[in-house]
């Protein structure tokens, strides 16, 4: 069955390329846009097929636009946090109509239907979709955005889908930003949920300031959370607030040097639905975003109820050929005086949650060879591991359009609970031919030594083909076995189970 399928697919790719100028489908009418993302996988070991498809259709005419997103999952992701218990799903998951009037200085936009929104850096509200980690907390309701004389206003009311695919909790939110002068902005946000049940609403608000002076930029935001039920039950009305948060970021740049420093303090600051299955806010996690597989293997998810910490990063371009990045960050839990511990009625000491340092040097030797050397060190509490990770990446530019890339990653992990040590090695060999083709061979080996003299090795190997068809379609085919791991984006993680089989991903857009 699968052989027939691949033969058919190859034949179609070939004929599509041959007759690219004579496609039998008509051109799309003006104003219409569409995209389709398809993911299909078959796991040989588990005998499990997963089919997922997202189809977008949008139409724009003058000041109006409207669109839908039709989602199909059969069966959905096996992770219940993602599937929401559904085995088969086919429905319009997102629909909107929008009108926009005015220009860049003075204008207004009204959206009815499903929408996303972000206030500041997400301390109060972040409604977003990230398909890579299967997160979509879109709101169904009305959103109004207005711009006038340096003022920017966003006001919205809507409902997000909970774990049981029901929209019950109503969210009301407003954000007002004012540019006093060119280099100074002040803003305020407020949000409140209106639970269907007869319970107190949670209110959350913040103020923020963004000055820029010479080569220095600053962002500071301070927020508070209130809920009368929690205030009465946990604080005996002795405190008005039940949560507090602040986040600040400072940048400095001078010539080839740039510095970024960030600080966070999130105390009992998750803002969610009454049933706890929707989270409306998502402040900066202040964790390094890595592009290498092994550096994401032991992640530390964001906990906006109980963490404080900082991260500093420096970048320096020595010349156009050499670029250096150095970063260091720490995240700790909060002390016993925190709202979080008072609400839970516990008394826990401050503990290190995550410590990470990273250094990366990019150097272009000549027009044919480029090297990236990186080194990461991390300690994280969830899995209680210490990880040392050196990485070497080399680019060999054969000519103007052909490249060979070799990445070697090694990770030495110590389990601090059992003192067990193990090693993971990943080798990636990639051939890239612009603009159409890429072929990657990825091999991973894990070595464990449970007893002296006894070595256990496990291997995962896959080959991946990438092909671009007609400027509008990208096709990726993966065959082989892949180690389990986390896909983490900004402190939000999704666990990908071990996989043995074939996977097809196709993305088309017009």
């Amino acid at each position: 069955m699968h052989i027939k399928f691949f033969f058919f697919l190859l034949l179609n790719c070939f004929t599509s390329l041959l007759y690219a100028q004579d496609n039998f489908f008509p051109q799309l009418p003006d104003g219409l846009g569409l995209s389709n993302q398809l993911e299909y996988s078959y796991d040989y070991e588990l005998k499990r097929e997963i089919f997922e498809n997202w189809f977008n259709l949008d139409y724009r005419y003058n000041i109006f636009s409207a669109g839908i997103r039709f989602d199909i999952f059969q069966p959905n992701d096996p992770n219940p946090a993602i599937s929401r218990g559904k085995v088969i799903y086919a429905d319009i998951a997102f629909k909107y109509i929008e009108a926009e009037i005015g220009d860049v200085e003075e204008g207004m936009k009204v959206t009815a239907g499903n929408f996303y929104s972000l206030f500041g850096r997400g301390l109060i509200l972040k409604s977003y979709e990230n398909r890579n980690i299967r997160i979509d907390n879109n709101l169904l309701g009305v959103k109004i955005e207005g711009y006038y004389a340096g003022l920017k206003l966003i006001a919205l009311t809507g409902m997000a889908e909970n774990f049981y695919a029901e929209r019950k909790d109503i969210l009301h939110a407003v954000d007002l930003e004012y540019k006093i002068v060119n280099d100074l902005k002040i803003s305020g946000s407020f949000a409140s949920n209106d639970p269907e049940e007869d319970v107190a609403r949670t209110m959350i608000g913040s103020i923020r300031i963004q000055p820029s002076i010479w080569n220095f930029d600053f962002y500071g935001e301070y927020g508070l959370k209130r809920n009368n039920d929690v205030k009465k039950e946990k604080f005996k009305n002795a405190a008005n607030n039940i949560g507090e948060a602040y986040y600040s970021a400072a940048n400095f740049y001078y010539g080839a040097l740039s510095l970024v420093g960030e600080y966070k303090y999130y105390d009992n600051f998750i803002f969610g639905s009454y049933d706890g299955t929707i989270i409306y806010n998502n402040p900066p996690a202040i964790r390094k975003e890595y592009t290498y597989a092994l550096l994401n293997r032991h992640p530390s998810p964001l906990n906006q109820n109980n963490e404080k910490g900082f991260q500093v990063e420096a970048n320096y371009s020595f010349a156009s050929e050499t670029f250096l990045t150095v970063s260091y960050g720490e995240t700790k839990t909060l002390g016993s005086d925190s709202y979080y511990q008072k609400v839970l009625g516990v008394n826990q000491p401050v503990r290190l949650q995550l410590k990470e340092s990273f250094i990366q040097l990019n150097h272009t030797w000549n027009e044919n060879i480029k090297t990236i050397a990186a080194f990461g060190y991390s300690e994280e509490r969830d899995a209680n591991t210490k990880n040392i990770t050196p990485i070497l990446e080399n680019y060999f530019y054969i000519d103007e359009i052909n490249t060979i890339k070799l990445i070697i990653e090694h990770q030495h992990t110590t389990d601090k609970t059992t003192t067990e040590k193990y090693y993971t090695d990943v080798a990636t060999l990639e051939y890239l031919r612009s603009p159409l083709l890429s072929i990657s061979v990825v091999s991973e080996m894990q070595t464990k030594e449970p007893d002296p003299g006894k070595t256990i090795r496990r291997f995962w190997n896959f080959i991946q083909f990438g092909y671009t068809l007609g400027e509008h379609t990208n096709l990726i085919l993966l065959i082989g076995t892949r180690q389990a791991g986390n896909i983490c984006i900004g402190g939000v993680c999704r666990y990908e189970p071990e996989f043995s089989g074939i996977e097809i991903k196709m993305f088309t857009r017009f």
Binding site: N23, F25, L28, D30, S35, K179, N315, L469, G470
Partner: protein
Amino acid sequence: MKLLITVLIIIVSLNINAQRKAPNFKLENLDGKFVELKNFTGKGPLLISFWATWCKPCVEELEEYKKLYSDYKGNGFNIIAISTDDEKTVAKVKPFVKSKDYNFTILLDTNSEVARKYYVQNVPYTFLLDEKGNIVYSHLGYKKGDELQVKKKVETLLTSASDKTSD
């Protein structure tokens, strides 16, 4: 059944053909000023690149676009690089751009509002617009040599624009 649906979707996707007008958008630049796409169109070819600070191919690609911009900016060619860094990494965009000395327009799309309008799920993603604001070329990802195709397309657009002027 799932396999059949997969095959059908692939076949339709491969055979359909279309060109569309670039959706207008309004985003903040690095100085906090709002910038609108319609103020950039009508002057010559415009390249829109979606990128992020944490994305290595994006950075490689932007280095090539920096050269392209230096070569053709005098002829009416312009570049808008839209950073899709979200609230977690947006603090790094301005320092990064300054240290790299990019001299084209950088805009911030922190909640991917514009990326969604352009169906950008992954970066880097390049769109080339003609003078009328039609998307004449798009490309997902970056491999060394992709910039040669973009350069060729920009030259074609500039030549056809100058031919129309001389007519």
